[in-house]
Amino acid sequence: MIETLDYIWLGILAVFDGPELFSLFGLAIPAAPVMLFLGVLAGIAVGATPGLAGPMATAISLPILISIFGFTPNALLPVFGFLIGIMKGATLGGAVPAILFNLPGTPDAMMTTLDGRPMAQAGEPRRALRIAQLSSVAGDSFSDLVLFVCAPFLAIMVEQWLDLPEKTALLILSISFVAAVMGSSPGKGIFAVSLGLIVAFIASGEDLSPRLTLGIPALRDGFPMLSAVLGILIVGEIFVAIDNERRGLSQRRDRAAQTSDHDGLRPGDLRRIRPYITQGAIIGTIVGALPGVAPPSRRRCPTRSRAGSTARRLHRVTRPLARARPRALPRPRPPIPPCPERT
């Protein structure tokens, strides 16, 4: 345990004693925390913009960051700090348009539209935003603390106890999990997994001549990671968004109703939402720790978002709050139709 705490302390020291970004009044300002802060700001802006999501911002900023900081060991912490900041900020920012305009800024904020939006319509947008922020930050921080504390000895345990057969079993579990979370069609889930594996296997073998290139010179180095990320995470989302917009599936962009006089967090709120945040944080951490489960942003359907995602936490948290004011609430909207299975 002491050893684990030492690791954590060393990590904290590495962040604050890291390379200097600039000096202020003779005081060296480390790059990593500053980049983290900038990343969170950028992430909130990205998350609050419908259509943009954390992975997209990460993919766009990574080449820029590498161009600025280079491929040096010193670049690791600032670059990672910015990327982590973007992902965290995007989760937080995604709730803003979901509550105010019924437009989830990020896919995992889809569930927020179910309860956060009615609260905003009932004249409590600020209260809904506060609860969203609180549950986001609490859930994320909890899972991060678990990661910090458990990651060192989990990594050692994995190396000590897991040999090739066990690692193979773990990989099979991951692949099965992908098929399991695909919902009604595990076959299509496994098909997607096989496509991903095949793309990863192109030109990555042991032989001197790269495999599966079909004689195409551009494939001799395999698929570039950036192209794959852009194609899978971004282009697909854009196409679905265009199709939904044209079909009129996307929700109406009406403005939030008038703010009531009692908007904002109330004294009893914290106590009331605590059990829901705790449940959500624990479920989310366990589900998130399982290998092979994609981040919620990869899924488009609200019913399939990760159990512990911020959106679902907020849904569970705000349900009793929304019920508490039934007269103030407008007629509930029809639920968002399930995403069609694309064949």
Binding site: P186, G187, F191, S194, L195, F201, E341, T343
Partner: protein, 182 residues
């Protein structure tokens, strides 16, 4: 085409693809094959991992085939096919514009008439990117809005100018598309 029939067609396509890959593509496009024997030692070859992946693909085809009779919630409609075809066509047209505008303009209006100006001379190096990229953004927005608008064209122009600012002005060693391939 009815939903179960579509599912059967999809499953058949996947199974045929997996079979062709396992029997023809994978063994012929790898040097060491599925299993290699060197000096009496047998080890796995470069084809084994992709072979397993295509095996997984075949399994997925079988699973889809088995579930073909169950009622599906969604199926491929004519709208989907038209949408994808139109989208591919739109992207192809503007990619072609992006690829060939610069060389064409350079050939017509520069003295040397060759493609070398595309690497480092304004406006030739930006012409294809602005017309193809900005045009694609504007066309997609107009498509979604159901009509051409000045606002869409301006957004496309601004988007490409911002990207030029980020990638071309800030980094000397980066070439905007399509100039790296010209």
């Amino acid at each position: 085409v009815k939903a179960p029939k579509q599912t059967v067609l999809l499953a058949a396509f996947i199974l045929i693809l997996a079979a062709l890959a396992l029997l023809l593509w994978v063994p012929n496009d790898t040097v060491s094959g599925y299993i290699q024997a060197r000096r009496g030692r047998v080890s796995i070859g470069d084809a084994m991992a992709p072979g397993l992946a295509f095996g997984l693909m075949a399994l997925s085809g079988l699973l889809i085939l088995l579930k073909a009779r169950e009622p599906e919630t969604a199926r491929l409609t004519r709208h989907d096919v038209i949408f994808v075809a139109a989208l591919i066509l739109l992207v192809a047209v503007f990619f072609a514009l992006m690829r060939y505008t610069g060389p064409l303009l350079a050939a017509l209006f520069t003295e040397a008439g060759d493609d070398r100006v595309l690497h480092d001379t304004v406006p030739w190096k930006h012409a294809g990117f602005v017309l193809g990229g900005g045009g694609l953004v504007a066309a997609l927005i107009s498509w979604m809005e159901g009509g051409l608008s000045l606002k869409a064209a301006l957004i496309g122009l601004v988007a490409t100018l911002v990207l030029i600012g980020v990638f071309d002005l800030a980094f000397d060693d980066l070439l905007l598309p399509p100039n790296g391939d010209v």
